[in-house]
């Protein structure tokens, strides 16, 4: 299959290793990947914060950049949910019927990585190797908007060497919420405190999820507490293989793996 990578602005800027891992994984499964360099940002931050006038051009730009894609896959439940759920709303609220038609169609071809693997490619074992104790946080948008369900867990269960430990109160939001964490920092911190505590209670070496935004939040809290527990994106776990396990273990704790090592 020809897959267009949708590398969210956050991944592009701060977590390039996630996008590279996703590309490597999809190739390993026998698919062709492409990154259209014209893409920048889906507009979620603007739209959700109230800057809808500013978000509209970004939405139109996204449609242009991906119009010819067969399928679009992103390492972010949140941005995919935005495209699928809120692009139509944005078009509706702007009274743009042409845009509405286009985004509705586009939404059907846009997938979050784990749902793409399970629902479209129908693979549960991606041949990964990751010898670590890991806990999984289901991010709100992936769980509630995309309903990815147990797709990430099924993938993780098939990773060799990996010990999966259950996260208590996993369905609770980590408190990131985009600009919520900046506009209501105290409430967001109170939510984060509980999440960090849950993660630490599992004794896991790292917490994984399908969204670097939530991981940045949880990881930021874990790092501030000098907890010694790291965060790593699901794509990076799934991309790891025995031959490169040394490289992948660097992702733990540091959030900052040398991207070159993954290439």
């Amino acid at each position: 299959m020809k897959i267009d990578l949708f590398i969210t602005c956050l991944n592009d800027a701060l977590f390039p290793q996630t996008g590279l891992a996703m590309a490597r994984l999809l190739r390993r499964l026998g698919h062709q990947v492409r990154f259209n360099e014209a893409q920048t940002c889906c507009g979620q931050m603007h739209f959700n914060t109230g800057y809808q006038r500013e978000a509209l051009p970004l939405i139109r730009k996204f449609v242009n950049d991906f119009r010819n894609a067969e399928v679009i896959v992103a390492p972010s439940g949140s941005c995919v949910a935005f495209v699928r759920d809120l692009y139509p709303k944005a078009a509706e609220w702007a009274g743009d019927d042409d845009l509405l038609r286009e985004v509705t169609e586009l939404g059907k071809r846009t997938y979050e990585l784990s749902e793409f693997l399970i629902k479209v490619l129908k693979v549960e074992d991606v041949g990964a190797y990751y010898p670590h104790r890991v806990t999984y946080h289901p991010t709100c948008h992936a769980a509630r908007l995309l309903r990815v369900g147990d797709a990430p867990l099924r993938l993780l269960k098939n990773v060799r060497g990996l010990t999966l430990v259950e996260l208590p109160a996993s369905e609770q939001c980590c408190g990131f919420g985009g600009t919520f964490s900046v506009k209501n920092p105290e409430t967001s911190t109170a939510m984060l405190a509980d999440k960090v505590q849950s993660v630490m209670s599992t004794g896991a070496e790292c917490c994984t999820a399908g969204d670097n935004s939530c991981l940045m939040h949880i990881g930021g809290g874990l790092s501030r507490l000098q907890s010694g527990v790291g965060v790593v994106h699901l794509a990076e776990i799934l991309a790891s293989t025995e031959s490169m396990s040394a490289g992948s273990s660097e992702t733990i704790g540091a959030m900052q793996v040398s991207a070159e090592a993954l290439l």
């Binding site: 800027a13 105290e186 409430t187 939510m191 930021g220 790092s223 501030r224 991207a259």
Partner: protein, 478 residues
């Protein structure tokens, strides 16, 4: 005083800063919401057709709202036909005037109240007090809040922020009750003794309403304690204040709600008391019945197609109990009788998006979506939150012309509109962050982002962005 009203005294972030410090309240809330969340989950899981039922509930409410004016006129005619009187109140002041005039015309010094959230919305207690009339709450939790001189913090369990020991002390102080334990049974008995005397001696009662049935002019209240039934049957005069969105066209419509409401609110299969009354029945119950139909901003909500679904709300409080923000910040942080997720969308809308403090409420959410999943009438609260943010932001930045935030957002949008600008900005950021990075992380940021680093570290920008790495390797498979 359980007045409260819907005008937040402060912006949400500021109010939440205080409530978050209250360790006792945090524990009480966490305990209460966790318990009821689990119970509700079990109660809902029992019904195989829950999703279909939710859809039905949403459809019925939408249908009623789509010709609301007609439904209300039908209701008015039916109530009058059955010997009741109907009053139309455009806003809080008008509603208060109608109720206080009625109470005063009967020479009441005291009135009893049940299901009073709508009356709290209009701050009826304070209006009555000005006329020398004391309102006595008869819902146990409302009574607790009233005796404590507090305001409700939950729409169903207004005293959710208090624990048993605190209530025992309060009853000792205010009711002079000799209480040896804080067993719920003992506490309820103390309240019952106090209330029984009020039920028997008070001539005028004020109630809210859960539903009204247009075709028969019937008003309905659903409750757990039975105090409501006393209020509705013992006094001579009954005045019900009802938001206009509570009307349903016909009897058959109410059935799904009798399943949806108890399970969503108290996690019960069926609530203990459901009262229906139509007008007056000679020789039985109140001999005078007044129905006050309250608008107070609702027709404006109705007129807004994108946000209209807000009016489906049946005030079950499920969204509060699942909300992670409510659980931490508590009901008082919302500064309105409608707290939690529904409050965050309803309060600013009832105030026509013109109240600056209420306008901070749509941002009091991480948009996690738990409220939407829980809502028995499928109100897409996260979507309305976002919609309202979009309505409020332009006129906010119009007022303040260019806030730091709006400049940042507009700049970011300008950058994102061209990939080369984005790439340039990343390079700049990488150079600029130098002094901020310590031991591989950013620990403190100035300005808008300072809130983030007060409790969290940030990863620094890596040496190369994804697009740079990708290009270097010439990676596209064509």
């Amino acid at each position: 005083m359980s007045a409260g009203g819907i005008h937040p005294a402060r912006p949400f972030p500021e109010a939440a800063r205080d409530t978050l410090q209250d360790a006792q309240m945090r524990r009480n809330l966490k305990h209460a919401t966790t318990t009821i969340r689990e119970k509700r989950f079990r109660a809902v899981a029992e019904l195989p057709d829950w999703e279909a039922l939710r859809t039905r509930g949403a459809e019925l409410k939408d249908a009623a709202l789509s010709d609301l004016a007609e439904q209300l006129l039908t209701l008015e005619t039916a109530v009058k036909r059955r010997g009741g009187q109907v009053h139309w109140a455009r806003d809080a002041a008008e509603a208060c005037r109608i109720v206080t005039d009625l109470a005063a015309s009967h020479g009441a010094r005291e009135i009893i109240k049940v299901k009073s959230i709508t009356s709290d919305e209009i701050e009826l207690n304070a209006a009555l007090e000005k006329r020398g009339i004391q309102a006595i709450e008869t819902d146990l939790a409302e009574l607790i809040v009233q005796l404590a001189g507090d305001t409700p913090s939950h729409i169903l369990v207004p005293a959710i922020h208090k624990n048993r020991a605190e209530i025992r002390d309060l009853f000792r102080r205010k009711l002079g009750a000799e209480l040896l334990t804080d067993e719920p049974k003992v506490l309820a008995e103390a309240a019952r003794l106090y209330l029984r005397e009020k039920f028997l001696s008070t001539k005028v009662a004020v109630s809210g309403a859960n539903f009204a049935i247009a075709e028969s002019g019937t008003v309905c209240i659903v409750e757990s304690e039975g105090n409501g039934r006393m209020c509705l049957t013992l006094p001579d005069v009954l005045i019900s204040v009802m938001g206009i969105e509570k009307v349903l066209p016909q009897w058959a419509d109410i059935a799904p709600f009798m399943q949806l409401l108890p399970r969503s609110s108290t996690a019960e299969r069926m609530n203990p008391y459901t009262s229906f009354w139509s007008g007056v029945t000679p020789g039985d119950g109140p001999q005078e019945f007044h129905l006050v139909l309250l608008d107070n901003g609702r027709t404006d909500v109705l007129a807004d197609e994108a946000a209209r679904q807000t009016l489906r709300c049946i005030r079950c409080s499920a969204c509060l109990n699942v909300c992670p923000v409510y659980e931490r910040a508590g009901g008082h942080a919302y500064g309105s009788v409608y707290p939690g997720p529904i409050g965050a969308i309803l309060t600013p809308q009832l105030l026509q998006l013109e109240d600056e403090n209420a306008n901070t409420l749509p941002w009091a959410s991480s948009l996690c979506g738990a409220c939407y999943d829980a809502c028995p009438v499928k109100i897409n609260i996260p979507e309305i939150l976002i919609y309202l943010r979009g309505q409020i932001t332009p006129h906010k930045s119009h007022n303040l012309e260019n806030t730091v935030e709006s400049i940042a957002m507009k700049t970011a949008a300008w950058i994102f509109n061209e990939p080369f600008r984005f790439e340039g900005a990343l390079k700049l950021a990488r150079t600029g962050q130098g002094p901020l990075v310590q031991h591989g992380a950013i620990h403190a940021l100035p300005g808008l982002l300072g809130g983030w680093t007060s409790s969290r570290n940030l990863p620094p920008f890596p040496a190369k962005s994804f697009r740079e790495l990708w290009r270097e390797e010439g990676q596209n498979d064509e």
